[in-house]
């Protein structure tokens, strides 16, 4: 069934893994026996046609959904039973396919809230907001990294879509994750911004691991060390871009759209 071409990798090189993951929704399986191993420090792409189960797999790995069966391990530890907030606190942080920002907060406030999480003393209801100013330098640096300079005081709801994606990425980086799961981080972005975000992801991956769903195949080709192709809830192929794009099954699953970057 699911190919396991990476089983020769030493166990401690695998930072995040799912084994035989299954998720059933009323009579059908959105994820149907998927095993996935993400190597530490790599950029791992997850691709596949619409409805293949990519987002569902993300939801399982971050425990936003409970798997029907299967196991999830992070850093050698079984995290299958953890709550999503606890998974995030361990350093496995995901972004959402539909842009998720705090709409009524400004860009700066969005980032302060993300940075506040690491500081940990968020229950202080008797202190003023000024306490959060201590995060402003870091927030400023993050805004610069994703190209949001000058937007500090714009409410997130007023940002154009591409910038919302950038803000979401910045707030994901703000909690200093070990593994980033990015669900179509570049959807809706213009070309010049795609290049910028691709550079950023490459930069970020120097000290972290990235698992990303992405439909833009030229981005996938240039960024990823490894690609897993998902179709109808199952792993269709896995390997580097050259080998995956040659795979007749993969080409078939994309129904003639081809995999030409």
């Amino acid at each position: 069934m699911s190919p396991e071409p990476v089983s020769d990798v030493p166990a401690d090189d695998i930072v995040l893994s799912g084994t035989d993951l299954v998720k059933g929704f009323k009579g059908f399986y959105a994820v149907d026996g998927v095993s996935l191993q993400v190597r530490r420090g790599s950029i791992h792409a997850l691709i596949g046609p619409n409805g293949a189960g990519k987002t569902t797999l993300f939801n399982l790995l971050t425990k936003f959904l409970t798997p029907t069966s299967g196991q999830i391990r992070f850093d050698g530890r079984d995290i299958t039973g953890l709550k999503p907030a606890e998974v995030a606190r361990l350093g496995v942080v995901r972004s959402f396919q539909i842009s998720a920002v705090f709409d009524r907060l400004t860009v700066l406030q969005n980032l302060r809230v993300a940075l506040q999480r690491k500081a940990g003393d968020g229950f202080r209801f008797w202190e003023t907001e000024n306490r959060m100013r201590r995060f402003d330098d870091e927030a400023e640096a993050l805004m610069e990294e994703v190209g949001l300079e000058g937007f500090a005081h714009t409410p997130a709801a007023a940002l154009p879509y591409g910038r919302k994606r950038a803000l979401e990425l910045a707030s994901t980086l703000a909690v200093d994750p070990k593994v980033l799961l990015l669900d179509e981080p570049m959807a809706g972005m213009a070309h010049e911004d795609i290049d910028r975000i691709a550079d950023l992801i490459r930069h970020v991956a120097q000290s972290r691991t990235v698992l990303m769903v992405e439909h833009n195949l030229s981005v996938v080709a240039s960024l990823s060390d490894r690609i897993t192709v998902l179709a109808r809830g199952k792993v269709l192929a896995e390997g580097d871009y050259a080998s995956v794009s040659q795979d007749p099954q993969v080409v078939g699953a994309y129904m003639g759209e081809g995999l030409h970057a």
Partner: protein, 330 residues
């Protein structure tokens, strides 16, 4: 493949506004103006009437802390308001305590109830949360009916002595009483204002805007929502307990489900998620009820119509609409 949304150029966007617009600045001035206005109010309005509005304004503001800033619609805030009212009335009447202690005991009861009810209800969202809070409040109502030794059943606790504040100031004097109520009201409102603008309040608003995102950043959101509910319940209790001392009664009306409806109405009329909306709503509804008493049961109908009008015409409420016009959070 996907990419349903057309690419939107990032560079086309305008980076506005350049400077941080601190809404607190304006809000502070409004608080100062409000305080001065309320200091003068008993000279041109009946103090008892103003005190009634202040109690309900605080009640509605407490409700709005949960509804407007945490995004949880409680249909059972009468439980906190009413039970605090009973406890304050009972202790003021039968225990050798001064009125501020009676009010504190009522507030503490409501806070504790908030913790217990919150632990039960906080996992639910939307309409389910509303239904569970309603059910719990009904439980409190039946408890009040079933314990006539404590609540005096249909009669309620009547003739509660106002007593001496700190054992010194005679609250039988309306102006002394007014000073105490004004201090409680301002204290409660400033606490709400502080909570909203605290780091905790920012996180609450983040959870309100997008709870899954807050979770994915590692926030244990239920604990935040629970603390938000406890604060809301406690301040609603403070309002109920104060009301018991001012009017010298605590009755089944205070725990009845229709009492849970009052802050909802006031908040929607004034503007949910605004600092000053609920109190404006409380004033509007209070004045209306006062001048239309002659209408009898038509009052309810009139109120309903005004409510529908407000929801249809000003979805943001009075203060919310003004805030939009001047582009400030108030």
């Amino acid at each position: 493949m996907t990419d349903t949304s057309a690419p939107i150029g990032l560079t086309a966007a305008r980076a506005t506004p350049a400077a941080e617009r601190d809404p607190k600045q304006l809000q502070r001035w409004i608080f100062v103006g409000l305080f001065l206005f309320l200091c003068a109010a008993p000279w041109f309005a009946y103090p008892i009437f103003v005190m009634k509005i202040l109690c309900f304004a605080l009640f509605a503001s407490a409700f709005n802390l949960l509804f407007g800033y945490v995004g949880l619609l409680s249909f059972g805030h009468a439980a906190y308001f009413g039970m605090a009212s009973y406890v304050a009335a009972y202790t003021a009447k039968f225990w050798p305590v001064t009125p501020e202690i009676a009010i504190l005991l009522g507030t503490a009861t409501a806070t504790l109830m908030g913790l217990v009810f919150g632990a039960i209800a906080i996992r639910r969202q939307g309409i389910y949360f509303a239904m569970i809070t309603l059910a719990l409040a009904q439980l409190v109502y039946f408890f009040a009916i079933q314990t006539p030794k404590f609540t005096h059943g249909e009669d309620g606790l009547q003739g509660v002595p106002r007593g001496y504040l700190f054992g010194i100031f005679d609250l039988a004097n309306d102006m002394t009483l007014y000073a105490m109520v004004l201090a409680i009201f301002m204290g409660g409102m400033l606490l709400i204002h502080r909570v909203i603008h605290s780091p905790f309040g920012q996180i609450l608003q983040a959870i309100r805007d997008n709870e899954p995102r807050a979770i994915s950043l590692g926030y244990r959101t239920q604990r935040y929502k629970l603390l938000g509910l406890v604060l809301s319940a406690g301040i609603a209790g403070l309002a109920g307990a104060t009301k018991a001392i001012v009017f010298q009664v605590a009755t089944l009306v205070d725990v009845h489900w229709s009492m849970s409806g009052e802050p909802i109405l006031m908040t929607l009329v004034g503007g949910m998620g605004t600092i000053f909306g609920p109190m404006v709503g409380a004033a509007v509804i209070g004045v209306m009820q006062n001048y239309m008493q002659g209408l009898g049961s038509w009052l309810t109908v009139t109120q309903g119509l005004i409510f529908i009008f407000c929801v249809l015409a000003f979805r943001a409420g009075i203060v919310g609409t003004i805030g939009r016009l001047i582009r400030r959070d108030i």
